[in-house]
Every structure is written in structure tokens, then in C-alpha cells.
């Protein structure tokens, strides 16, 4: 099974708007997997949103989770 992950801003420029990663059970393991799959992400600051909410700590995920990688916001 695999997870679909959206990326935005600077991150989208580096890894593309939509990426596929091996299925993970929580966001901490997702982060590790992303670092393996996309070594260029390691030095970049980003937040993870699950179901359109930025996670406060490690969060369980499944195939139905809507996952997004968000670099610092710069609207306005």
C-alpha cells in the first residue's frame, strides 16, 4: 500500500505537487521515509497537515488520510 502526499510552495518545486510514498502508520515514520526517498527535503523546514489540520505531534495516518507538506506560509 502507498500514501499520496501533496506538496506546496518551495516543496512542490523540489519534489512535485503530488508524491507517492510507502505506506506509514504515523507522521513520524512518514517524515523518516520522506527523508530517505527525497534527501533534498532534509534541510527544508515544513509542517505536515493531516486532513487539512497542521499536526501538533506524532499523528496516526492511514490510506484515507489527506496528507500535505507545507513550507512556511507567505500570503498577503
Amino acid at each position: 500500500m502507498q500514501l499520496k502526499v501533496q506538496a506546496f510552495g518551495l516543496l512542490a518545486e523540489i519534489v512535485g505537487n503530488n508524491i507517492i510514498v510507502d505506506k506509514q502508520t504515523d507522521t513520524d515514520s512518514l517524515k523518516k521515509q520522506l527523508a530517505v526517498q527525497f534527501p533534498s527535503l532534509v534541510d527544508i523546514k515544513y509542517a505536515i497537515a493531516v486532513d487539512k489540520k497542521i499536526i501538533a505531534g506524532n499523528t496516526l495516518i492511514n490510506e484515507a488520510s489527506i496528507i500535505a507538506l507545507l513550507p512556511p506560509f507567505s500570503g498577503g
Binding site: 506546496f8 510552495g9 506560509f73 500570503g75 498577503g76
Partner: protein, 148 residues
């Protein structure tokens, strides 16, 4: 999480002054309003290492942004006795000198309108998933960083 449609805030390209004028004009029938507070964000032609910004290209995570804006709106209306509030943010390319953000609050008295407007601007900058890519004269670019 909700499935309901949230109010749209995004507009394609720059926010024109005639759009702003129309929005102001529409409030002339609401004669309980005594004060309007408006904030406009304008794209600056900053220089970075000798390159000049000619435009900002905005993208968003729209579903999340509209859900978050809905939350912000509910919080503001709960906190301030506003008559109305309107928010517009550009997506896509906005040239230097053009308007990319329009926040418009109205109330019976000035204090509420002014305080609510300022608070909404701060929340938009801090909490909405929007990204600005500064485009330079030579077509290179750099991702914008908000000063907080």
C-alpha cells in the same frame, strides 16, 4: 472537518481598485454602519542581491485555506460586533504595485472595525496556507518569507 462549501476568498490575479470601490459602494445601504476599516497588501518591488522583484506568484492549498479562513471568520465575529467582513486574496501573478490582499471590516463604531481588521490581517499572514514566489526581472525567483 466539514463537507460544506466555505466562502471563497481567492481571486485570480491582482485586486483592482474598481473592485474595492464597488465593495465599498455596496455598503451604502447598510446605514447602521459607522466605520469601515480596510487593509490592502501591495506587492513591493524589493531588491534581493541586486535583482528586483517584478511580481509575486501566489499559490495555495485551497481546501485547507478556505476551511481555516472559515474558522478565523467565526472567531472574529464571536469576538467583535461587526456588521460585516470581506476578505480577498490573489492567486497567480500579481505585479509590483498591484494589490494582492483586501481585508474589509465594518461596524457601528470605529474601534471594533479597526481592531478586527488588524487581527484578521495577522491571522491571514500567519495561518493561511498561501505561498508567494517572488519573481525577478531576469525570470529567476525566490520564495517569499513573511516578517512576523
Amino acid at each position: 472537518m466539514t463537507d460544506k462549501k466555505h466562502k471563497q476568498i481567492f481571486v485570480k490575479g491582482a485586486i483592482g481598485s474598481s473592485f474595492i470601490a464597488d465593495s465599498i459602494q455596496k455598503h451604502s445601504t447598510k446605514t447602521t454602519i459607522g466605520a469601515h476599516s480596510i487593509f490592502l497588501g501591495q506587492v513591493r518591488s524589493d531588491s534581493r542581491d541586486d535583482r528586483k522583484v517584478v511580481a509575486i506568484d501566489y499559490t495555495t492549498y485551497e481546501e485547507m485555506a478556505l476551511e481555516k479562513m472559515h474558522e478565523i471568520r467565526e472567531g472574529i465575529f464571536a469576538k467583535y460586533p461587526l456588521t460585516c467582513m470581506h476578505i480577498y486574496h490573489s492567486l497567480g501573478t500579481v505585479a509590483a504595485g498591484e494589490i494582492c490582499l483586501f481585508v474589509f471590516t465594518s461596524a457601528v463604531h470605529r474601534k471594533e472595525a479597526i481592531d478586527a481588521c488588524e487581527e484578521v490581517v495577522e491571522l491571514i499572514k500567519k495561518e493561511l496556507p498561501i505561498w508567494g514566489k517572488e519573481v525577478f526581472e531576469d525570470d529567476t525567483h525566490q520564495w517569499k518569507i513573511n516578517n512576523v
